[in-house]
């Protein structure tokens, strides 16, 4: 990653044009060639410096239900419970965290009822209490990571 890559990352985290030749527009603003821009983006995607390049959708605004849920998993059962929880296709993310509430997963379903049903099934299969913590209000989502 060189200075031009850093400039690209820092200046391209939003406002990509919706025009016929958007890469050309951006390249001209940055003072590089369109081909150079395209090849740098490809390289940074290939080496996972970028996870994606394109529109970031707010899936919740497009329909569907999401919820962050937590379980206090006894340490000796952690592996077994992970297997049970991850097996549900509705579980989109699952993170282990350094806390008594040590398992945090996100459910993504087509309807709010399915959030409740999936959590009931997870509670039944694991025998553990599930804490359903859907967002009540969103204050901010975003962040400019400085490269």
């Amino acid at each position: 990653m060189d200075e031009t890559d850093r400039l690209l990352i820092n200046s391209l985290q939003g406002n990509f044009p919706i025009s016929d030749q958007p890469y050309l527009e951006v390249a001209q603003q940055l003072g590089i060639s369109e081909d150079d821009l395209l090849s740098r983006l490809q390289t940074m995607l290939d080496n996972h410096t970028l996870t994606r390049f394109g529109p970031m959708y707010d899936i919740q605004k497009l329909g569907g239900s999401f919820s962050l849920c937590a379980i206090r998993v006894p340490v000796e059962r952690f592996e077994e419970v992970t297997e049970i929880v991850n097996a549900f296709p509705e579980v989109a993310h699952n993170y282990e965290r350094d806390h008594e509430f040590n398992m945090w997963y996100v459910l993504a379903t087509e309807s709010p009822e399915q959030i409740i049903q999936t959590n009931q099934a997870i509670a039944a299969r694991t025998g553990l209490k599930v804490y359903n913590m859907p967002k009540i209000q969103e204050f901010f989502v975003g962040l400019h990571f400085q490269a």
Binding site: Q13, L50, Y57, N94
Partner: protein, 159 residues
């Protein structure tokens, strides 16, 4: 969202094509014209269904290795004001109000904090403590230990 939006979303949610005319390429793939693709994307952007269009950096690769979910107990009648202030801090990526579960979970304000080290995050936590002042009745930091599953939030294509 209609069927055409859905098609455009499923064609672009993994990324835009890295070709000189990306919207024309999507249009061709979907058998529609590129003006329609651009118009629909602009409309979804205006409605907030698209948050932004651009690069999504891998923050681990950029050196942001300390990522903590910070959780705060603040008065319900102050949460909007405090949440907006917290969300405006440059190192906060997501900031939400979520339900408490008393007595075991008293926290109602969640903010993801990112730093290059835990020391850097600790310094940021201190800034939040100062910002919330007397309204903070307690907080905790939950560092991620491992990703157990990550398939991402994707809209399913309809047959």
């Amino acid at each position: 969202m209609d069927e055409l939006d859905r098609k455009i979303i499923t064609a672009t949610q993994a990324g835009l094509p890295l070709v000189k005319k990306p919207y024309a390429a999507i249009a061709e793939q979907l058998g529609i014209d590129s003006e329609t693709v651009k118009l629909r994307l602009q409309q979804m952007l205006d409605k907030g269904q698209i948050r932004r269009i651009g690069a999504v950096p891998n923050h681990y690769k950029l050196g942001y290795k300390a990522n903590a979910m910070s959780v705060w107990n603040v008065p319900d009648d102050k949460i909007k004001e405090l949440g907006d202030q917290l969300g405006a801090l440059p190192f906060v990526s997501h900031c939400y109000e979520r339900p408490r579960f008393l007595p075991e979970w008293p926290y109602n304000l969640f903010a993801m904090l990112h730093g290059k080290s835990r020391e850097e995050v600790a310094d940021k936590v201190q800034q939040v403590v100062e910002l919330l002042g007397e309204y903070c009745a307690g907080y905790e930091l939950l560092y991620s230990k491992q990703i157990l599953k990550k398939t991402g939030l994707r809209l399913k294509a309809k047959d």
